[in-house]
Structures are given as structure tokens and as C-alpha cells.
Symmetry: D2
Amino acid sequence: MLNAKLALATNSEHQTVVKLSPAVAFGGRELVIIGGPCTVESQWQMETVATRLKAAPLQALRGGVYKPRTSPYSFQGLGIEGVEILSQVRSHYQIPVVTEVMSIAQIESIATSVDMLQVGSRNMQNFDLLKALGKVKKPVLLKRGLAATIEEFVMAAEYILSHGNSQVVLCERGIRSFDNYTRNVLDLGAVAALKQLTHLPVIVDPSHAVGKRELVTPLAKAAVAAGADGLIIECHPEPEKSVSDARQALSLEDMVKLVDSLRPLAAVVGREIVGSPNISHLAIAPR
Amino acid sequence: MLNAKLALATNSEHQTVVKLSPAVAFGGRELVIIGGPCTVESQWQMETVATRLKAAPLQALRGGVYKPRTSPYSFQGLGIEGVEILSQVRSHYQIPVVTEVMSIAQIESIATSVDMLQVGSRNMQNFDLLKALGKVKKPVLLKRGLAATIEEFVMAAEYILSHGNSQVVLCERGIRSFDNYTRNVLDLGAVAALKQLTHLPVIVDPSHAVGKRELVTPLAKAAVAAGADGLIIECHPEPEKSVSDARQALSLEDMVKLVDSLRPLAAVVGREIVGSPNISHLAIAPR
Amino acid sequence: MLNAKLALATNSEHQTVVKLSPAVAFGGRELVIIGGPCTVESQWQMETVATRLKAAPLQALRGGVYKPRTSPYSFQGLGIEGVEILSQVRSHYQIPVVTEVMSIAQIESIATSVDMLQVGSRNMQNFDLLKALGKVKKPVLLKRGLAATIEEFVMAAEYILSHGNSQVVLCERGIRSFDNYTRNVLDLGAVAALKQLTHLPVIVDPSHAVGKRELVTPLAKAAVAAGADGLIIECHPEPEKSVSDARQALSLEDMVKLVDSLRPLAAVVGREIVGSPNISHLAIAPR
Amino acid sequence: MLNAKLALATNSEHQTVVKLSPAVAFGGRELVIIGGPCTVESQWQMETVATRLKAAPLQALRGGVYKPRTSPYSFQGLGIEGVEILSQVRSHYQIPVVTEVMSIAQIESIATSVDMLQVGSRNMQNFDLLKALGKVKKPVLLKRGLAATIEEFVMAAEYILSHGNSQVVLCERGIRSFDNYTRNVLDLGAVAALKQLTHLPVIVDPSHAVGKRELVTPLAKAAVAAGADGLIIECHPEPEKSVSDARQALSLEDMVKLVDSLRPLAAVVGREIVGSPNISHLAIAPR
């Protein structure tokens, strides 16, 4: 059905591996867990997250510095100041960092400071941005649009691949539905379908999908069981004070518990969370 | 938000157990797997399924005898003849049987021959049917409507509960969405939410949700990881010859493999599939 | 695409006319406007509506006596008492009456007292009810399901037609969508499609579609312009006191204004609202 | 509900008028009809459209030169060559021209050659593009996203307004739904709601909404009856040869007929199509 040429798997063994660092790669046996706040708010915040969670272990940190907000009057992100915070935390804690890029003009400054460029749901079919990311030598995390079909999602990846960048990871993050009890509906059928259709790694964002922190853990487990190559999960040192998406962020303690609960599940489906948990000795950075 | 009085859990330990037989119950530690064809087609078909799968083990058999079909010209089910087949297989193989009831008039004859009455998605808000099932002493399997909100689903159960029948099991079976790559979208966020909101057992039908047999197994695993109390899965001795939903039925061999693959996963989330697999000595019934 | 045999138009002139009374028919040049409350609450209420609106003119009255409510604890309708109110108003004011039938058991008593039996959205695929209505000699108003495709809608009509009743009117009443600013989304593309696909009359319910009274009039106009054969609109003597759907009912004064505003529009698209307005001399019934 | 500051109407008389030329303005008594092909394919094509339709009369021409296509292998538009064709036709036929801008880099060259810049559905929440358009002195035609809520749509306009450009026209073009019988579902309830909520002109694109040319005319009429300030409709000299969206384009003859059929309808709802039809003397440009 799809006229993709580069994104489709030619056989069931065909699997692209996307490396964030020598130690962290999507698409292999390793389950990659990315954690962090929706929005980078301060150096203290990001250092606290890194200090507490690197040894959970998380494999990468997330944090938005340019934020796509429904209202022009909502906080739009720290911008360059946020990029610098990410850059410092990345080098100090030796942990890969992911952040969203909203326009072509932001690519250059961000690409040198982080390990992976995220395309947000609202930009999944911002084709000029996709083409520009096709010319960058950085992995791209492509989030599914709010109402994108599986075919449109694969073809959006094809835009990046066909412009020269083969390092694309797909991310299912919930689709729009008629019921607002949960924020969106996590479509794990799409994850299973994408794992068969394409050779690209597929990860899941249960936080944005469900929008309520008490439902994140069961959906994170479900995603791993369905075959996801990784997870991206919102967490915050003080969730109820988060400047955005406060309702869905986990506390750092709950994030640690989630990683612990995923370890045996990952093993059952042939996956591994690299690194042993090593939390106890870590002090929280002073504010 | 919900003005349900009987369906809501009063605390996190509050859990109803619905028994199909002395050995089979929903809502406890046991993971209940119901398998069988969409439609009862013949005695041979149902005996083959029972012979091959009882020791998989499956905990219950399904098979439709009154079929809600989009077209009046499609096969509408074997009716009473099908009820008799179910009744015979049930007593001969000592395995509980589930079938759909489409109208009040069918309740009496079906209720004496099977162990659980299913309300299909299209009838989730057939309130007169729900009221009538509230007066029956049989467990009810209530499937979520194609576009029912979580609130409407819980309130449909409340209709049955408030009319006197407390033996209700909820079933998530996929909701309508904009993408027809999969038949529906399996909403595991709803499963997680329902497990927290209500004290009723919640099971999942991955077959109708996804509509393609190659995607059933990952979604069945995801459902168990998300906390489902059971699964209902279509399988058929000759899937491609099925009179309905041929595209989504598993072969009996694949059904056995699926149960095997669920066993370690169930264990990791604190569940158990009762009975050890005991397939090898079973001969297929002659046609 | 559809395997309907009886519902499809064989050419662009093929049009069924469904008569409610010698003076009122759907499917001809006449635009049929049905008005009245969501729920029959009292004799005073229905007489007030009839007194004020018969000369608007409305062609028929609506009012629910068996109500499909999400919660079992919500008012379920006056039942037989309501049927008697409808029957009296119908004979006293000589105006056709439409009401919903929710189950097979209600058909007989209702069918003798009203002029048209409505199948509600939640029962559009209650196939046993449809089959039973196929054997009744009364026009049926079939409302589209909340998430029914055009094909499923036509096939639901086919159930009634193929069981012997050719007097079916289709009603588009809004479908479920992701935005809850309006209650549902009125799908006038479906109205245009159904007018071309089938020979059955097609009417529109803008009240349930949009759920806000201030938006009913523009959608009623749009429906007429799109080719609808009639409208069914909620109105109430005291809208804010309505026991159900209070937010969407028009006042009787606004209902009169709406009919007035539709008259020139109907003329432009080749339709006519039969009867000249004759409101001034009508006294309101004493309470 | 909305925290928009600039887009909301302060009272029912509050109405912005957006001028495309001295003779063509959205938001007044005049109904503005924009016609033309999905994609600019050649000078001959655009001249044919202008020659035949200017006197229909159409008030403005549309034609895409940068095309957002699902697949990177589909024709992406003529680019600068297409801008030149638009510019020539615009000056030769003295008719305003509208075209889509997909990225910030395209704004400058396009803005000097056309009269209105369109933001496509896929870019409705491309916030950096919206901010950039807020600094341009050209009217913007903002299309609703495929699954954008009314609130999100208004807030997208607010991005443009709050960055300095008050010349914004909203366009409803159908939303995603579960039924693919029509391409999308035209949401005229949103049009009625937007006319009450905001002071911005609101137009409708029935072609993309329904995706089948035989359904365009009834929906165009419905849009006018619902209160739309204008229409944007696809038409093509040889519809079946169109490089994109061939299934929904009207022939030029049908486009003329549509305008004719809208004239009396517009009058009934207090609108006017400026200019009298003057088709007969117009010769088609030689190919």
C-alpha cells in the first residue's frame, strides 16, 4: 500500500540501529528509556533529574527549550538559554540529550548541543522541516501527528530518509479520539504494525498519550510488551509545579520505580535495560 | 465525574471476582483466556477447537450463534442449532462457553446452555437488553461500544448491576478511528483507567481491535502487561475459510503458541495461566 | 461498494415518498419540520407546544416517552403515560406525532398511538429491533449511529426494508468527533451522499448534532441548502427547565422565527413549507 | 474558555473586513468565491481558468506552487516558476491570487507576487511560520488542521494577530473522521461557532472536505446558508488530468453553474456575489 522506498523493511530481520552515543542505541536488544521534563525550566531542575535518574538507569534525557504551545501567551520555552543548560548537563553527566526543533532556523544551534532532534506531533507534516533534517547528521525522533495515519507517519520518515539522513526513530504518542477521559489514545496496534512494516526503531510516549500520571506505568509496560524499542517519559522533580503538562509528569521516585518494574518485563520479551540501578549514593544537587 | 453507584471501586483492593465455573474466574490472580471462532459453523469446527485448545490451556470457548452483521444478507448465525452445538461441546469437554445474545427474546434459551452471555459492541447502549440481563443469574461479558466513552461504558455496566446482576466483566475491543490500516484502535489506556475506576474485571479482545492476525500476538501481550484480567481471541481450525472475520482469526497452532508466550509475561505481572499445556497427546477430531 | 438491494437509488429520479398523514409526506417537494421537546414531561407541555407551533407551521410533533439515558439513574421517560399524552395531543390537534421505540416489546403499544416510530442512534445496529420494525405498517425514522459509516447506515435501513417495511426516513444527527466544543459534528456531506445513493428521504437533526441552541438555526439552514427533505428540532416551552438536553432546545418563539427564516431558503432550493404561518390568534393553553 | 485576546468578537456587530483588492473583501456583505486548481501546472492552465471564470464571476484565483504532499516522491509543485505564472495571470486578468506558503523561507518571494498567503492544514500549528506571517503585510488564509479543535484553530489565528498582522481569514476544510466514504467531514457547526466567537471572516473549502466532485455543490450551498463569508473551490480545465486531487475538482462549466446556483441563495441570507455573470463572449485561450 505504501510507496515508501527507504523506510520499509525488506524482511523480518531488517532492522536499523540508531546510536545516540557509544553506549546507547535504539533498535537493538537494549530497551532505551528517555526521561525528563516537558520543559527545561532551570539548571537546578535538569541537574536534579540527571543526578537522580542517570543511575535509574535512564539512557537519555529529554527537555523542551522551544515549545509548541496552543496559545501564543503560554510560556514558549527558554530558547538558547535552555540549549545551554542541556549542553552543560549533557557533558557534565555524560548522558545523551534529546530536544525538539520547531523550525529550520533552530536546527544549527541545537544540533551541535544535543544528541537527537525531536520533531513534534504538530510538525510531523512540516515537510520543509523534514527535508532540512534529512541533511543533518544527527538522529531524529519523529513523533506521530495527532491524527496521522500509519501511512502518513511512514511517509514523513521517508521525507527525512530520502533527503539523506537514515537515523530516524519513530515515536507513537497517542492519537486524537472522541473520549477526553484520557488525553489521547495510545495506539499500540500502530507500534506492532510499524515494527513489521519498517526497519526503523519505534518508541512510545505514554505520558502524552494518556495525560494522567497514574496511568503512565501500565501503558509503559504495555508498550514494552507490544515490542517497542524504547520509551520517552515525562518526569519532574516537583511534578505539580511543572510549567507544562503538570498532570502527566511522574515524580523522580516514581520514575525510578517504573524503570525497576520494567526490567523483568523487558527480559521476558527479549530486551534488556542496560546498566544496573545505582541510586542510593546519589545526592540531590542543592537548589 | 461518573454518577455510577455500584460499578466504582471504593479503594484499590476492591475487586469483584466473576466465576464461570469452579475452576475459572475473572478478577483474581488467574489470567483467563477465551478462544474460539467468530461464528459457530459446525459441530466438527467447535470440537476441533475444543480438542486442540482445551489443554493449551484455554479457560473458555467462544463462538457466535446469533451474529450482528452489517448486512441483512450476510450469514446471521446458526441460531438454536448453534446453541445446541455449544451446549454439547460444553458438557463433553467440560469447558465454559461464552456466546452473544442480541435480544431479550434470546436470553432464556441461551442462558441455560452457556456460562456467560456476551453483549456486543453495537448493543452496549441497548438499555432494555441491559436491564433484562440485570435480572439473569449468569455472568455478562459487556463489550465496549465502537465509539463509547469510558463513562458511557461504565454506566452501561451500571445498568446491569443496578437491575440485580453483579456478575459483569468489561471488554475493551478497540474503538473507531480515522486510520483503517488497523480495523480499530485498541485503547489500553481505557483498560488501565477501568482497572482503577471500577472493581469489575476487565478483559481485552485484540482480534477485533486490530483485525489482522499478524498483529494479534503483540497486542495480546500488551493487554496482559497493562493489567487486563483476561483475553478473548479469535481462532479457527481453517482461518481463511472462516465465514466471518477471516482476516483476524489465528490458526489453532498459533493460538497454542500465543498462550505459551503469555505464560512468562503473566508471571512477571503477577498473573498465572492455570493448567499446564498438554497438547501433544490430543488427536484432532475426524471431520 | 454497498451490497444493499432495496435502499439504493436506481437513477436520479428514484425517490420514495413516506407519508405521515394525508397532508404530510417526506421525500416530495414539501420540507417537513418536526418539532417538540426531547422528553414528554406533561400534558401541559405538549399542548403548549402544539398550540403555539402547529400554525408555525410545524408538520409533526416529537417527544420521547421511552428515553435512552447514559445513566440508569436519569429519568427514563413517562412510558405508557407519555404515550397517552402523545395520543391525545395527536388527535386533538390533528398533527402527526413521532416517538422513539427502544425495544421490540414497546412496538405494539406505541405503533397504534403515533404516526412514526423513531430508532435512536444507540439502536441503529440493534438488528432484532430493525427486523421487527420491518414487519410493522408504520413509517420508521432511522437515526444514524454515533459512529456509523454511511454504508452501515444504509445497511441498517436495508434491514427494515428487506423485512417488509418500505417506509423508512433516514436522519443525520451528528457524529462523534475529537472536539467537544459542539456536542457532535453534523455531517452534511453524508446527507448529500445519501440523497444520491438512496431513494429514501433524508432529514437532519441539528439540535443533537450541535448541542447549543445558538447554533441550531445556521445548521438548520445549512441542512435545507444541502438538500435535506426535512428537519427535526428540539424546542420546549421553558427550555432551561427541560429534563433533558436543556442546553440545545429552542424556545417556542425562536422555533417560530426559525421556520419563518427557512421559508425563503426552502423556496430557493425548490422546496416549500406547507401552510401559512398563523400564530397570532393562538392562545397558550392554561397550565 | 479561550484565552485569546485579539481574535474574539466583543459583540455581535464586531466584524473584521479583510481586503484582497479594492473590489474584493472578506467579511462584508459580499460572498467571496475563490476558484482554481489544486496545483499550478502550466501557464495555459491558469489562463484558461482565469479567462473562463473571472466573469463567472470568481473574486479570486487559487493555485498551489509549493505543495505539501504525503509522499516525497509526489510532485512537489512548480515552485518559483509557478509563482511567476500566478504573478502574470494576476496582473493580466486583474484578479487577486491566493497560494500556499509552506515555510518561512518562501514568504518573501511569494508575498510580493500574490494577494493572500495560505497556511495549509498540516501547518496550522507550525507556530514559527505563524509568527513570521504575523510580521507580513498581506492577508493570511488560515486553514483548520485535520484534527484541530475550534479552540486550537482560534489560537492559531491569535499567533498571527498577536505578532502584528490583523488580516486573517479562517477556513474550515473538513476534519478527519472514521468514515472514508467522504474524504473528510465538513464541520459547519464550527463555521457557525466561529462566526459567533470571533470577528474574523470564515470561509469554507467544500472540495477538500468531501473529496468527490458530485458532492461539492450541495456542501457549497450549505456553507453559504450556514453563514460562511466565502468559498474556496477546486476546479480545473481538465479535471481528470489534474496532477493532484483529480477526484474532487469541478470542470470550469460546473464551476460556472455552481456560482449561478449560489446567487439566489446568497441573496436569501443577505449576501451578494459581486459582478454579473458575463461568460458568453469569453474565448478559451489557445493551448
